[in-house]
């Protein structure tokens, strides 16, 4: 845009730059060093929505939830010092999960830098290991260009969080405002063009393979390659399994969707990884939760790895053929180069494995005969009552794994969860962000009683902003996942995992939120129906079996072949 330059304050330039980038929502918390920016924001409240969270961590996770649903950078504001350090967990989470995010922090005035001034902390230094890029702005003139670069870097290539630290004098100073979007940076190659020779090599391996297995991750969602993925597997008849963050990219009911990989994934895709003669990994990074023992992973398979990030190639698993570039383009080219095929007998092995898992695990989870409620039945019922069309946001722990296993999806970008970092306290604020990103969709968040209490204050934000988030609290009065490990690997020595919990409904009520508690099977159906149809935010506390375990499970350090179906 090339309008006549106009003279504005640095703080106003921040807001104008965000508007130029199409920002509609900011999550934040004001404080001394960012007050000029908040003062400018006051004049733009019709053009931009600001959500005042109750803690900066909430702002960061909300921005993540927003980014996951929209695919655009989530934006958060925080003041210097404690405001900025409170963002850190959320930034680290966004970094490891490749979430585009632009954080703007206030900083003490530039003459005070390095003097231990009030609320000064070295935010640039602190955030360096957990940002894709960060930059400190000390003069007003730098603001438009730095913000343009921030959005370009956050949203292109492998996305990630960036942080801009703006000193108070830069916010107060004046500049001639003229905004130009950033289109390239000399030292930064967002993506490599797909090499057609590599595609041909990969296609040859695929055509020759008798037992191919495709593994997809979040890269498919980030590059919006869902249709290309489906076209590829349908042409080749290759079964496809997903990582936690790849969930919802392929409809749950697709006949070639063989389930979740990894520690609490499905039986078939785990054991059959070691039967496969070819692994095609798309937009995934072979996390240790997926591979189990690396030296015993995919032993008989050649590996084709499609990824946008060159640093992921050969990082964990050596690739026989690496196809660098954007998944949408590489999958399309791959589909054009492979032969039509089907792998019926091979696919049958997955279906058989599913039957085994169904008998040993799923049946008990979804149709339990014992009195206590299971997490599985609650989650499965919520999925059903929302017509498998809801956005599901989870916290971290047992409920997260159960939710990933039993929630069903029709649409991509419908699952929001903290994967790499495993951040307890993520669910509630991320659900706010997801709801703001998709106001017309039902957003349900499943949270355990441990994680809920880490960011419970965001109930206030949800009520203040009338966000109709449906919160399902699966309460077992335990830090369930840790307790499960203590039971299985630490001789049931339940060291500090039992919780004496508050009356959650009373807390919700204190915040002005409706809710209900259910602890018996006969009331579950109705309670969920009531929650789903409720107009506004709602807390449904489901009291579940105290000492239930999540199975299947690949014990830490074991091969995926040694996945356990029971203790």
């Amino acid at each position: 845009m090339n309008k006549e330059p106009m003279k504005v304050s640095g703080s106003e330039a921040v807001i104008l730059s965000l508007l130029e980038e199409g920002v509609e929502v900011i999550f934040g918390y004001p404080g001394g060093a960012i007050m000029p920016i908040y003062d400018s924001l006051y004049d733009y409240d019709k053009k931009i929505t600001h959500i005042l969270t109750r803690h900066e961590q909430g702002a960061a996770h909300a921005a993540e939830g927003y980014a996951k649903i929209t695919g655009r950078a989530g934006v958060c504001f925080a003041t210097s010092g404690p405001g900025a350090t409170n963002l850190v967990t959320g930034i680290a989470d966004a970094m490891i999960d490749s979430i585009p995010m632009v954080c703007i922090t206030g900083q003490v005035a530039s003459p005070l830098l390095g003097t231990d001034a009030f609320q000064e902390s070295d935010v640039l230094g602190i955030s360096m290991p957990i940002t894709k890029w960060n930059y400190q702005i000390t003069t007003p003139e730098e603001i438009p260009e730095a913000i343009a670069q921030a959005f370009f870097i956050a949203q292109t290539g492998r996305p990630g969080p960036v942080l801009l630290d703006i000193t108070k004098d830069a916010q107060f100073g004046e500049l001639e405002f003229n905004y130009k979007k950033c289109r390239k940076i000399r030292s930064y190659v967002p993506e490599n063009p797909v090499d057609p020779f590599k595609v041909k090599e990969a296609a040859e391996l695929i055509d020759q393979s008798k037992r191919p297995l495709l593994l997809f991750g979040q890269g498919v969602i980030i590059s919006r390659a869902e249709a290309e993925l489906q076209a590829f597997i349908e042409k080749t008849g290759i079964p496809a399994a997903w990582t936690l963050l790849g969930l919802s990219a392929l409809p749950s009911e697709h006949p070639l969707n063989v389930g979740m990989l990894g520690m609490h994934g499905n039986y078939g895709p785990n054991v059959l990884t070691n039967e496969a003669d070819l692994i095609i990994a798309v937009g995934m990074r072979f996390d240790d939760r997926v591979t189990g023992k690396v030296s015993a992973y995919a032993r008989d398979a050649k590996i084709v790895h499609l990824d946008i990030d060159p640093a992921e190639i050969n990082k964990i698993i050596k690739a026989d053929v690496a196809v660098l570039g954007d998944a949408k383009k590489s999958l399309k080219m791959l589909t054009d180069n492979v032969k039509q095929n089907s792998h019926k007998e091979w696919l049958d092995q997955f279906n058989k494995a599913y039957q085994t898992e169904f008998e040993k695990v799923i049946e008990k989870d979804l149709h339990p005969t014992k009195a206590g409620l299971t997490m599985g039945e609650a989650i499965s019922l919520i999925s059903e009552k929302t017509n498998n069309e809801a956005i599901l946001v989870t916290d971290v722990g047992q409920h997260q794994m159960v939710a990933a296993r039993y929630f069903r999806f029709k649409h991509s970008r419908s699952f929001v969860s903290s994967g790499g970092l495993g951040t307890m306290g993520y669910g509630l604020p991320a659900a706010m962000g997801a709801q703001l990103a998709a106001p017309d969709r039902t957003v349900v968040t499943v949270i355990g009683d441990g994680g809920f209490q880490m960011t419970i204050q965001e109930l206030g934000t949800i009520v203040q902003n009338k966000l109709p988030v449906k919160i399902i609290l699966l309460n077992n009065n335990f830090l369930g996942m840790v307790r499960q490990w203590q039971q299985l690997f630490f001789e049931k020595r339940y060291s500090f995992t039992e919780l004496v919990n508050p009356d959650f409904l009373m807390i919700a009520k204190g915040f002005g939120m409706e809710g209900k508690k259910v602890s018996s099977r006969e009331n579950l159906d109705e309670a969920i129906a009531e929650m789903v149809s409720f107009d506004g935010p709602y807390l449904l506390e489901v009291v579940v079996e105290k000492e239930d375990n999540v199975f299947p499970m690949v014990p830490s350090g074991a091969s995926v072949s040694h996945i356990l179906l029971e203790p």
Binding site: G125, M128, W133, I153, R183, R186, S187, Y188, P310, A311
Partner: protein, 180 residues
Amino acid sequence: MKREFNITVFSENHIGLLTRITIVFTRRKINIESLTVSESAISGVYKFTIVVHTSEDSVKKVVSQIEKIVDVLKAFYHTNEEMIYQEIALYKVPTEALYDSDQIENIVRNSGARILEITREYTVIEKTGHKEETQALFEQLNQFKVMQFIRSGRVALTRDPIERLSEFLNERDAFLDSMD
């Protein structure tokens, strides 16, 4: 097997970039044996020479993580055999030791070192070479009590006939233009 590797990084000149680069090593608990940073032949482009003692697998991963940093233009690694490298060392010895015998003079001549400055109290000697050579000279001079000693980080060139940096920058510019 662990051995010495020379990592070369070309980057933009931005504040904080040194930290970003060293974080890649810190996070993997790899010690930096030596580090030299200065402007390259192309104005505005900085060159880092980093010496580490690690396995080839680890140096490969480190280099790809460094290259991923937004402000880094290019990173690569070489073994010592693939590079021509030098370090510079300065030695301060008491000047009276030179008067007492011609031993120091001979050591300086034979080791290809040179004298930079002589005052009444001290004489400063300079030598460039590999660490073993500058260290050997130190041992020899230390019989006369070296008063101060300093050795620089490594500077290194590849055995390529030309530095391909400007070619690389032109290619990069053309590539980024083609992506528009």
